[in-house]
């Protein structure tokens, strides 16, 4: 990934809490799926496997957790790229 792409991603991650946290809390974020779930009386099963559920980090304010989880998500992808490049592409050469 080029440096220019990384800078752009960082800029988007930094502004993301404005939409994903502030505006979402302001208007009560819900997608069409939530509307259908209400109509059908569906509720999400209560089990969890990650401390980063809903892009939040325990102990941190929502907006900071949102930024941090954005960075974590992109970092995992970059790590995946490095692993594939190291083990698979080198093997193919």
């Amino acid at each position: 990934m080029s440096r220019r792409h990384i800078y752009l991603l960082i800029a988007l991650i930094v502004i993301s809490p404005v939409f994903g946290v502030y505006l979402a809390n302001l208007v009560g974020y819900h997608e069409p799926l939530d509307i259908i779930a209400e109509e059908l009386g569906l509720s999400e099963a209560e089990f969890n496997w990650t401390p980063l559920k809903d892009y939040m980090v325990p102990g941190l304010p929502e907006w900071l957790g949102y930024i941090l989880t954005g960075i974590i998500g992109v970092s995992i992808m970059l790590l995946l790229e490095a692993i594939v490049r190291h083990f698979i592409l080198r093997k193919n050469k």
Binding site: L9, A24, I36, F47, L52, K53, M77
Partner: protein, 217 residues
């Protein structure tokens, strides 16, 4: 559009897992021929779609939306690598951030990483061929239609899966009659915005780097 745990019955969950894993598995097999440049493109697009999905806009009328990006991935990378890029996004969202249920990951991949990606790719190619390539805004128009219809279809399929699950689990006997038209209607409306964003991004990329759009080859 990420279906959470508890919405699907075991049969639908298993069936969608099998279909999705078979197609994504085939995409991985095909991608074993990729080189470093293509790998970088797949990961870069995955990262941008992941971040774009975090930017949710409230919509007047009582709902919210974010870019799904399935059509965009299919058009830019081709259907197989596009499906792989979307699968990477969805698996990380599910496993790390609990965005979408682990029992519904197969269905979510089927809707957003397969149907949306393949339909977006096919529609884009069809529209570009139908409209003369010299026409101004051809990329925007083709991207608009591809993004719009692919999101509408993916949402409709999610509604079908939830409706079938309701029928199998005897939740509400008429659940399909609610979930299918509601999801189809909402995603057909919101698809206009998905299509507009897809078309705008393709217009920009096409003006700067026309050779990177796989849907035009």
């Amino acid at each position: 559009m990420h279906i959470p745990d508890g919405f699907l019955d075991p049969y639908t969950a298993i069936a969608t897992y099998i279909v999705s894993l078979a197609i994504v598995g085939y995409a991985i097999k095909k991608s074993s021929l990729l080189d470093e440049i293509v790998l970088a493109r797949v990961i870069t697009l995955s990262a941008f779609i992941f971040v774009a999905q975090m930017i949710a806009w409230p919509v007047p009328g009582g709902t919210s939306l974010h870019l799904v990006g399935g059509a965009l991935a299919g058009i830019l990378l081709g259907p197989w690598l596009g499906a792989l890029a979307m699968a990477i996004v969805l698996i990380i969202q599910c496993l790390v951030f609990h965005d979408g249920g682990i029992t519904a990951l197969g269905a979510n991949m089927l809707n957003m990483a397969i149907v949306s990606v393949f339909m977006g790719y096919v529609l884009y190619r069809t529209v570009v061929k139908l409209i003369h390539s010299n026409v101004k805004f051809v990329r925007f128009i083709a991207g608009l239609i591809a993004g719009w219809i692919s999101l509408a279809l993916a949402g409709t399929l999610a509604g079908l899966e939830i409706g079938i699950a309701g029928y199998i689990l005897n939740r509400i006997s008429y659940s399909l009659m609610i979930s299918l038209p509601s999801m189809a209607m909402w995603h057909t409306i919101l698809g206009v915005i998905e299509g507009s964003i897809t078309g705008s991004i393709l217009s920009y990329i096409g003006s700067k780097y026309p050779k990177v759009i796989e849907g035009e080859r």
